[in-house]
Amino acid sequence: MSDRSQQHSNVTTWKSIEQLAGGANALPQGEFSGDVTSAPAFDSTVSRRGFMALVSASMALTATACRRPLQKLVPAVKSAQTVTPGLPLDYATVYAQRNVAYGSLVKSREGRPIKVKGNELHPSNCGTASSEMQASLLSLYDPDRIRRPRVNKGATSYDVAVTTIANAVNEAQAAGKKAVVIVDEHCSPSFASLVADISTAVPALSFVTVPPIIADGAAMANGALLGIDGEVVPDLGKATVIVSVDHDFLGTDKLAVHHTGRYAARRTPSLATPDMSKVIVAEAGYSLTGSNADIRVKLHPSQFEAFLAVIEKTVGVSTPLGSGLVGSADAATTAAAESAAAALKQAGAQGVVLAGRHLSAKANAMALNISNALGAVGTGKAIDPANVLPYSGAKGAAVRALIADMEAGNVHALVFGDVNPEYSADRAFRTAMAKVPFLAAINLYEDETASARISSVSIPAAHWLESWGDAVAYDGTRTIQQPLIAPLNEGVPSLQDTLMNVAKKVNGAAFGEMASYYEYVRARWNAGADEAAWNKALQDGIVKPVAAAVSAAGVNAAAGSALPGASIAAGRVLVTTPSLALYDGRYANNGWLLELPDPVTKITWDNVALMSPAMAVSLGLASSTAPKDVIKANEQVIVISTANGSIELPVWVQVGMADNVIATQLGYGHTFAAAQSAVGSNAYAVAASGSTNGYVAIKNIEVVEGKRHRIATTQNHHTLDDGNGERPVAKWVTLGDMKTNNLASLDTHYIGAKDGEKAGRAPVPLSITADYEYKGHRWGMVIDMSSCTGCSSCVVACQSENNIPVVGKDQVLRGREMQWIRLDRYYVGDMDNPQSIVEPMLCQHCENAPCENVCPVAATTHSPEGLNEMTYNRCVGTRYCLNNCPYKVRRFNFLNYHTDQRSPLDLVFNPDVTNRMRGVMEKCTFCVQRLHEAKYHAKDQGRARINDGEAVTACQEACPASAIIFGDMNDPNSRVSQMRSHERSFTVLAELNVRPAVTYLAKVQNAPARPAKDGHH
């Protein structure tokens, strides 16, 4: 990638920064205390240089606090000699959340991480990045993070806090009771062994993994059938037919980025190779995966297992697990299942069936059983038992045991290791928790659990960009997690360090001379002696796995028969899914994520009760399912009660959902001080006990009369059919059309187009004046709507790269969201079960830009390289350009969105991009700052032109589907030039003759050819 390839090889150290900063005594201790917003040290007026003083100073403080020496950080391959002010450095590290490791490169300017990208070398994300991973950067600078350790009500020093916990552990030991550390699921071998070591050093101290989302279905099934207690990672790149039963592998799955990459690779047919995978999704809600499906089957959850059973039967599995369930399948289910089975049989070994891990063990077992029968299971196959998520075994049993222990009063102390069960655990756990005498939290936020109400001791945890660690990927690839910056808080080390310190306090002998978790990790990598190997590992960000010796034991189907099935009644059911923006809510205080529109519903800043039109009518919220009536149900408020509690949610009607199902998202409704995250309602409170992500029967739904809750959507319920025929803006064809070359619908014919001229691809010159000649580079972009899933990584990537402000719910309600990329979602087909198309819409950099003509002050003009440029400081804000933009991709700063930026949030800004003041128009720039960077680099190497692929836009870089291609249209060999002439290419609104520089490749649906007539648009 450009910004790495242009850096010369060597290493740098924090010391150099420290020297730059002028030493540790740059900052008096006092300035770190108290509310950060009042800390002059972090006042937003602080210069970057001043900030470096803080960095080094805080590091010095950490050193004094826990005698932790400053370690060497090693920048990524080919990075600069030393830190040069103004030159960014990329450090390789790993974003390890839950049990998924995403290799990442973090861009750092003057010791300040400003962008999280993917590491090309890492198998999980191959250089791309998820929205959560990129947005986690903002949380690093979150002013709402805990600033100081606390004991009872009063702030205290780190040592005191640690000692208090240690004492509690001692008391437990003395009383012959347990002290339990609750940790989140993870994928760090070092942490795993740390856990083991601590448990041995301090027998009274035990560890239990209680992740926010517990879904054991897959692990249990694999345990039984494969003898592997864990979640096997399928390779969708090896599947031609994917049948998913409520498995949102493109959306809310932990590994969505990985799956999206593999899936997308098989979704881009051309005339030469008219071939693509077929995705069949059976689901109750309307997931992102469902919206991308070729065939979408809406099922009531009670039919899932029957659906699988019918497939099992139709495929003819030798030892069927669901023969008993076939009868319970209704006609529709049976029909859908049989056609799915037919497709699977055709695909043979290339057909896989995936069941959501939140479904029953039996459902997962059946899915595996079918895949196996098709021959898709085995080494090198689509489902390779060697690829297992680390430490992904079933968690439920241990949690239940812990609850029992707590209830029995066997637990004296609970230490929360960066988990928030008070918010996310079910009622049983929370009530049991209350019986434990001593509770301490080591969390990022003073959240529900860490609050004084629950935990008597609270120690800040470090952000992942502040802590050492390591991670192993599903395929065994290992990565060292190196911090990018010393903890911004008063010398507080990472969770692991704190746990070590506690252990040491209890048992002085523990860890011997080892001072910090850094040394621990290093020792485990056996690289202590081998400096070079260690540095290499740090530079590359990966260490390839030694050939996995996992011998794939055959599938023992019979073992699955004992597995428990789900007992979901046919009645009204609530499904709680992770949120596409917040996932499980660990970054709930993150503006970038809160304002990220849900790709399907387009809702920001809220979780809602999604239901089908019929459901809304049955609840008396709408008079009929006619669109104009159904819309009236939106924003009304209902109270949903389940066995575990009740929740108040605003209603949002979602077409295509199964009836009698209400879907809502986890991760919202935090109640702790931080203002931002106090939106929506906490769905964990009503989720099924034991499995927070999944289905629970609704006991009662009560409509709160007269109450309305405004919901901030960035797009309304629009279909392409506006009653005036389909609008030819988001075009799609079928695989059949590709095979028969029936692509007429992609052409745009307008007056002036010569007969049969593909105006949509090569606009006919209709100008009365001569065209401008572009001699040098001419930048253009191609977006493949067929591989784009709508995952929204690009939106966050753009927001992070271009300093796009978060405007808040009120402004979104007024229609003033600022994101430069808008993922336009259109429904096609009937309202009952519509297909949907995602069309990423950003500035089209039109050659004949209508916005430029109308600006009275020439604030937006065309560059010699074909960019439509905004000159911010010339703009007076007439908004005429916005009005005249047919794509409506310009964004106006109605207010000074950047001024009330709470420090240190302002440190997240990319110094290469101007912050815009109020009254100024802005929009996508094709990351012009990156183009310049690439040019300087080319110049350094004495090249006149940038090579293809050297200049990469932020959205392109992040796109897990590699659906965005950017480059020089004047270079005939560039990828973008070649893709522009792709037979699926079209430009939006070509008939306006504005000649966009952005070309789209039509979405392809794996379906038979359509008759030419309705093949139009």
Binding site: T769, N848, C851, A858, T861, H862, R995
Partner: protein
Amino acid sequence: MSTTPIGVIGEFTDPNVITHAAQKIAHAGYTKWDIHTPYPVHGLDKAMGVKRSILTYISFAGLCGGLSTALGLQFWTGAVDYPLNIGGKGFFDWQFSIPIDFELSILGTAIATVVGLFHLCRLPTWYHKYQNDASFAKATDDTFVVTIDADDDRFSAEGAQQLLRSLGAENVHLVTAD
């Protein structure tokens, strides 16, 4: 007491009479004389033998000035001083210059016309030699006031008054500066 005559004043009220009188006075060869009326009396200027006004030429000059300014400005700024590729259009095209060409032409004409008018009528002149005469003040109300200036070659107080009376003027009198 020495009194220097300024001129002779006579009042008329009938538009027909004043028109006839004007011709007579003109024929009598007077040059430094005038008729002050509350509103433009048609044909009176012709009767007095006033030459055609040159104001139209001044206005036309203004028009040319405005037009050339407009064209010059748009061409020089757009195509010479700072050419910018805007919306793929030319740096200067006559098509898009028309509105401003037109407006500035109008503006030029208007300004030239008013400045020209003020110049030809010597406005502003905040002093007039007859301004203290009672009859003269009526000229803006309801009377046609004839003034024959003393510095006219043919001027003689008696002759002038004689002539005016013979033409039917009332309240004919000599105005003097004292």
